[in-house]
Every structure is written in C-alpha cells, then in structure tokens.
Symmetry: C2
Subunit: 280 residues, 2 copies
C-alpha cells in the first residue's frame, strides 16, 4: 500500500471533516474555502487524469457493487495513488453525507478551483473560443462546456453574470469536460468581448434573431461564439458588440432550439464535420 | 362572448372533474382514458393552432400577471374560441390542482392522443425519419422530438420500449413540437426497422461505436436515424439491423456527447446547414 493512504476509515457523519465537505454544496462556502466537489467515478477519474494538481482530498467507499463497478473504482484509485494524492476510505453513510448527489457512486474529490486567468488563454493565441453570458441553468452551462470540449474549442469564458461552474450540477453535467480545457470565470462580459476582439478573434453572437444563417458564416478565421441566457437570449448591447449575429435555421414548425442544441450545432460547425486526421 | 364558453368558474379543487384532470399525470390513467394534458400557453397555443381536433377541454385562470402574460393568454384563448373549443375559467387553486407543473402558467388543455398509425407515415413516402428505441428520459425524448421538428424530419417513430410521449415532462420539453409532425408510438423496434426499410429508406444507427463519421454518410437518399438509450446506446441487434452505424466525431478530450446533442447534430446534418429557400 502506498504511504499516502490513511487506513482509518471515516465513519462519523457528524464530524467536522464530513460537514466541511458537505458544505461545499453552497456557493458562499465554495468561494470562501476556494474548494469544490467532483463526485462519482467519471468526474474523479478525469480530474485525477487531467488536473491532479487541483485535488486536495479524495474519499471513497469500499464497493460492494458489481464487478464492473469495483474494477472502475479500483482504476480511479490506482491512478490517484500513482499521482500521490491523499486518499481516505469512508463508510457509505459518510459518502452520502458528503455529497450533493442522490447516488454519489462511491467516490468524491475535494478540488481547488481549475479556472485560469483570461491572459493565460489569450497568450496561447486561441483560434476558437466560447463565451457564455447570463447562462443561469447549471445543466445548460455544463452541457455547453461538454460540447465545447467535444468540438475542440480552445477555452470557455464565462462572464461574471453566469452560473458558478463549481456548482455540483454544473460539474456533473460537464461529465469530466470541466477538467479538459481552460475555463475563465468572473470577468464582466464587456471586458471579455473587448479583450477577445483585441486578440484578433471575430465575435459571433448565436441568437435566434440573427440575420446570418449558420451555414453562411466564415469560420475559417479565428472566432469566438457568444451565447446568452437560455430564456431571453443575448442582451441588445452584447449583440451589438458582436461582428455577426448568427441564427441556426429552422426547417420545420419549431419556434426555436434550446441553448444546448443551438450551441452544439454552432460549435460543431466551427469544428467542421469533415473528416480530420486529429479526430477520434 | 362566444357560446362555447361556460361562464361558471370552477373553484372546487375536490371536484371529480379536477381530480380526473389531475389523474392524467399517471400513465395508467392516460392509457385508460385515452387523454393527456398540455400545460402552459406555449403548448396550448400549438395544440390549438395545429391539432385543435384533439382538444377535449381547455381550462384557464384569469391572469393577474404582467401585461405581456395577459396578452399572450388572450391570444391563445381567442384562437381556441375561433376553433370552437370548449373553454372553462378556473380559479388559481384549481389550475394548480389540475397540473403536474410547478408553475402551470395559466392554461391547460385536455387532449386526445395525437399519435398516428405507422401506415399513415409510410403512405406519405417520407424521406427523413427519426426512430427512437429505449429512450427512457422524458426530457431527452422531448428534446429529440423538438430537434426532429426543427430539422424538418417527416415524422418521429418511437418503439414500444420508449418513454410515454404523453408524460407531462415529454409534452413540456417538446415545446409544442409534439403537435407539429406525425408521431408513431407503441410499435416493436424490429417491426419499425423492417417496415421503414421496406419503404425504401436507409437505416442509419447513431452510436458512439460507429465506424462511419457523420460527415461521411450519404444523406442524399431517403433515410431514418435510429437512436437508442441515453446511457447504453443501441442494442447490438438493432445496430446490426441498420445499414450504417454512424458516430459524431469528437475533436477534444470529451468521451462522448449526450443523446440530445448527438441527435441534434445528426438531424441537422440531414437537414443540411446550407441556405435553402424553404427555411426561416
């Protein structure tokens, strides 16, 4: 056994440690402690694989599940041990008490924030960015981050008026993508637009009111997609600040697409659906 | 006032009528009564506009909301009156008691099933169909129906192992698309695949295991997309029965896309993102 495993199983659901983990379900506590929770084998596997530097503690429950579940968990724990992470076994009751999830699936990691400064992203000369402003629903924000990852975007930038990316529902709905690409948070939308434009990217607003169809946009030059609130779209001043306002065509009688659907189509249009050597 | 309005406001939340509407939240009751519920101004507007023949009763609460809400509701009620529908005012408490929704938004319609026989769809010589099998999450099923509508599919066919399309969560998440295009339900998947193939359409399985990339599929000939369960995809025998198994390329580090995202990309690839004269 590697020496970073503490072998005393945690069983007291009333302990300060359990309560402090559980409290990370609240935004104010996350911001004060500068910590958040990744829950379940998929999220924990991805943070261990891609951002082990951000993992403060990892808690797991000895599995009494199927063989497949046990193997999956062992793989995650082996990777965590190999990365030299602090690992602690807990009882089922403690894991449930720590987690926001209805079914925490055996493992949670307490992580330090993964967001990066805007300069870090712009210094890399990005060619394809995603900017979210006023996106309030955790599931939508997480799904767009997952889509940005799948489409090969260089980074996702969230304005200060957007949902907290460390909300457990956001973390879950990114299905690990939160740890795959650089994410910027907390910058006013006007600053994001100015800085990204100054870095040479075209600003493309995705909005049902757009007069340019998605298929007609020049995506060969570097660009950033700007997406707004799920219910009311982009504010007029944000639309006005963009170079092009783009809408996804509607062929049938539907009034609109939802944010995640429209975002997926725009981002994949950027990625190009053509066969490329670097895809899998 | 048109004569089809009954002017006595319903106020008794314990009445048989209110209870019988409320009971439509349960699948067994929906199937026995051959009725379901469309809730909120958007769904009700769409059923009144596109399938008024299926509306049995319409209940509304006099609005005390914003001017915009009142105008929206009046528009729906005017259209319902023009269609000669049975309309009844109810108290706020009655509307809440009737509805499955947390916020029923002032209006509900009790509707007869909108699904059509498979023959009705195939007799129209469809060129672009969507087949769902084992889709269990109401939100996913509704979102795919919405996407099929937006992409201009000719119909959606759900196998008998899929979620009930009259589940209030499905109805809500279609945002009216349930009433826009023909929908077939309750047919075994093997029969759906046989009949659709016999009608001359290629069967395209959408599955992460596919060896054909989305951008490489011939979509010029008539075809049906076959989509499976959100967690475990398509069953091996369904994949084997299809002509091509297609996967959406992943450009970044994401492991996969969710069902709604993958479906949206596939369906829009069929629609073609090119400018067409018939789009809006």
């Amino acid at each position: 056994m590697p020496r970073n495993d503490d072998h005393r199983m945690l069983t007291n659901i009333g302990s300060d440690r359990v309560r402090s983990v559980r409290a990370l379900g609240r935004r104010a506590v996350r911001e004060r402690e500068r910590l958040f929770l990744a829950e379940g084998p998929q999220a924990v596997r991805e943070v261990v694989a891609h951002r082990p530097d951000t993992v403060q503690d990892l808690y797991f429950e000895a599995q009494v599940g199927t063989q497949a579940t046990d193997i999956r968990q062992e793989t995650v724990l082996d990777a965590a041990r190999a990365a030299g992470l602090s690992i602690r076994e807990v009882s089922h009751e403690v894991l449930v008490a720590m987690s926001d999830a209805v079914a925490p699936q055996g493992v949670v990691a307490v992580c330090r924030p993964i967001d990066v400064p805007l300069d870090t992203v712009l210094d890399e000369r990005p060619r394809f960015l995603v900017i979210l402003t006023n996106v309030r629903d955790p599931g939508n924000a997480g799904t767009v981050i997952r889509g940005a990852d799948a489409a090969g975007a260089d980074a996702v930038l969230l304005s200060d008026s957007s949902v907290d990316i460390y909300n457990p529902k956001v973390v879950r709905s990114t299905v690990g993508s939160l740890f795959h690409l650089p994410i910027v948070t907390g910058v006013p939308i006007a600053v994001l637009l100015d800085r990204v434009r100054a870095a040479g990217l075209a600003l493309l607003a995705a909005d049902g009111s757009g007069d340019t169809l998605l298929g007609d946009v020049d995506l060969a030059r570097s660009h950033a997609w700007v997406m707004g609130n799920e219910a009311w779209g982009l504010e007029p001043d944000v639309r006005a600040a963009c170079d092009t306002v783009v809408r996804v065509p509607i062929y049938g009688k539907a009034e609109s697409l939802n944010l995640a659907m429209a975002a997926t189509l725009c981002l994949y249009q950027s990625a190009g659906l053509q066969k490329r050597p670097d895809i899998r």
